[in-house]
């Protein structure tokens, strides 16, 4: 165990995540075509003019994949951001509250944990009619417990150390201790959780858009591309395989990156 070592999952995951980020960034300055119905044949397989072919409305597939990367990352960032912004303070609060109150918070957390992101999003879409915003909020809320849990367990380890006791004796209040000692010590755990949760958020968004409850018609989304491919599968399977591969690459990237980062930050766990 010679300290921190770069590992294969970290590198491969990092590269895949980078690939998705680059796709999203490129879409701001360049796409092969505009995202609209083109005066070209429909359902073309990949060819020289349309590298990934055209869909059943004669829209360029590569264009949609690039723009879809934007949607995917946007939903992930907002959902994970909401979850972390609420979950991390809740976890620290639960760890620092003495006795019953901390336990009560975690009990509530466990109950929210029984609500999967997709289910919460479907439920909300009954009231508010679906859409990207509702999807992001619902996925975010459903992800709070994961952050609260991991933060609490990390915080509990710090709170009982001598330097926190010393800080308390020196007259620092709980807020100062949380900010100066607890938060820096859970940051690694939270980043790992963020990467794993990002993958789950991508899956949930794709499923919601496939169900027609996520990204609305006319906006590029990998999940929606799958929905639109469904009736032409028998003759144009590439219309499902290409966005499917994009989803898998993004999820794989964030999963691997999270795994690799966990091993990197905690070399004792190597090989698990």
């Amino acid at each position: 165990m010679s300290g921190r070592r770069i590992n294969a999952p970290l590198v491969v995951g990092g590269l895949l995540v980078l690939l998705v980020v680059i796709m999203a960034l490129v879409s701001y300055v360049w796409t092969p075509y505009e995202f609209k119905f083109l005066p070209v044949p429909k359902e073309q397989p990949p060819n020289a003019e349309h590298w990934l072919g055209t869909d059943r409305s004669a829209r360029d597939v590569l264009t949609q994949i690039l723009l879809g990367a934007r949607t995917t990352l946007f939903v992930g960032v907002v959902a994970v951001g909401v979850a972390a912004l609420i979950g991390v303070p809740v976890g620290i609060l639960a760890a620092m509250s003495p006795g019953r109150f901390g336990q009560l918070i975690m009990r509530g957390n466990d109950i929210l944990l029984a609500f999967p992101a997709l289910l919460l999003a479907i439920m909300f879409s009954t009231l508010y009619g679906g859409g990207t915003t509702i999807a992001m909020i619902a996925i975010g809320i459903a992800t709070i417990p994961a952050f609260a849990r991991i933060t609490r367990s990390g915080a509990l380890q710090v709170i009982n150390t001598e330097y926190v006791a010393a800080s308390r004796v020196a007259g620092h209040g709980p807020l100062a201790i949380a900010w100066k000692h607890v938060l820096p010590n859970v940051t690694g755990l939270v980043i790992v959780q963020a990467s794993v949760s990002f993958a789950i958020a991508i899956l949930a968004e794709a499923a919601l858009s496939y169900l027609g409850l996520g990204t609305p018609t006319g906006e590029p989304s990998w999940g929606r591309m799958l929905l639109e491919s469904q009736n032409v599968l028998h003759r144009s399977p590439h219309l499902a395989i290409i966005p499917g591969a994009a989803i898998a690459v993004a999820v794989l990237g964030f999963n691997l990156f999270g795994d690799g980062l966990r091993d990197y930050l905690d070399p004792k766990l190597e090989g698990r």
Binding site: R107, G108, D110, I111, L112, A114, F115, P116, L118, L119, L120, I122, M123, F124, S125, T126, L127, Y128, A199, L203, A206, A207, Y210, L211, L213, L226, S229, Q230, L233, H234, P237, A240, I241, G244, I247, A248, V249, V251, L252, N255, L256, G271, R272
Partner: protein
């Protein structure tokens, strides 16, 4: 042990109650008028009032909540707002369909994941172990509904070996039932098997490092013998936990997979009810799914006590 079990059961009941309050709060207390949502934004004031009165939406929220709870316990859930169909019998029929799907998928996943995961652990320093491990990582990244779409493309549309969807009850036409169950169950199982195999791998790796396994090897058992005789029971504990969690994700995965394969299960019921804005039906199905998750967690805890004698005396 019985005392601990009773304790866990009380926690389960309290969690169910709290979860039901949460579902109710999400659906009823959040801004928005249920009756207006159900009938659409352009409905007349009169018809909205009528619906509100007919289904008791003008009563206080506490009374409505208590009424809904009583309905779920006594299985008297009333009728749907718009279609006027009884909710409870539909719920039971569709729960059975989803049950078939989820349990078959879980069984398939287990049958594949336990040997493959064990193999991955035993051979983790060899090429085949690493390759299998990489394949399982990719499997985790493919959502079940996507696997379903790809399976339909080739096995149903292109080669026409299986029907692309639909459902017949097993008693009516056993062969037709199996042929329709096959693709969706495999779609769900592929992802689950990948996730499960990874957990089996890390659980077995953990056990392989234990002293008692080294002792077993030292007395002359071969690696696989040592593992099957002494290791697998210990590896089973973390796997059972994951199994419980996975059963819950399978249930949610089934919601989308049912849509892919046009299967009349709980998931399709939920999505149809969302589309027709049957708020109470949505609320009830969500509660059934959440309750299933909580009950599975409870069963996992109970199974834990059965597998690991150290936990029975408490004071963990």
């Amino acid at each position: 042990m019985l005392l601990r079990l009773a304790q866990r059961f009380l926690v389960l009941l309290a969690s169910l109650l709290a979860a039901s309050a949460l579902v109710f709060a999400f659906m009823q207390v959040l801004p928005g008028d249920p009756a207006r949502v159900a009938l659409g934004m352009n409905s007349s004031e009169e018809s909205v009032d009528q619906l509100r009165e007919q289904f008791g939406l003008d009563r206080s929220l506490i009374v409505q909540y208590a009424d809904w709870l009583r309905g779920m316990v006594t299985l008297d859930l009333g009728v749907e707002w718009v279609s006027k169909a009884e909710i409870a019998p539909q719920l039971i029929d569709r729960l059975a369909v989803t049950g078939w799907l989820v349990i078959t998928a879980m069984a398939l996943a287990l049958v594949v994941a336990v040997p493959v995961g064990t193999w991955m652990a035993v051979r983790h320093r060899h090429l085949d172990g690493v390759v299998l491990s990489a394949i399982s990582q990719i499997g985790v990244a493919v959502p079940a509904f996507l696997a379903g779409i790809i399976l339909i493309t080739y096995f149903a549309k292109r080669w026409q070996w299986f029907p692309s969807g639909g459902w017949v009850p097993p008693a009516e036409d056993p062969l037709g039932f199996l042929s329709r169950l096959a693709l969706p169950a495999v779609a769900l199982a592929l992802v689950q098997a990948s996730i499960l195999a990874r957990y089996v791998r890390s659980a077995v790796l953990e056990v392989l490092r234990e002293d008692y396994l080294r002792t077993a090897r030292a007395k002359g058992l071969r690696p696989m013998q040592a593992l099957t005789r002494h290791g697998l029971r210990n590896a089973a504990i973390p796997i059972v936990t994951v199994l419980g969690l996975q059963l819950a994700t399978l249930l949610i995965g089934a919601v989308v997979v049912e849509r892919v394969f046009v299967i009349p299960g709980l998931g399709s019921f939920l999505l149809d009810s969302v589309a027709s804005r049957e708020l109470i039906t949505v609320q009830t199905i969500v509660m059934v799914l959440v309750a299933a998750v909580l009950i599975i967690n409870f069963l996992v805890d109970a199974l834990y006590l059965a597998i690991d004698p150290r936990l029975r005396t408490g004071g963990r």
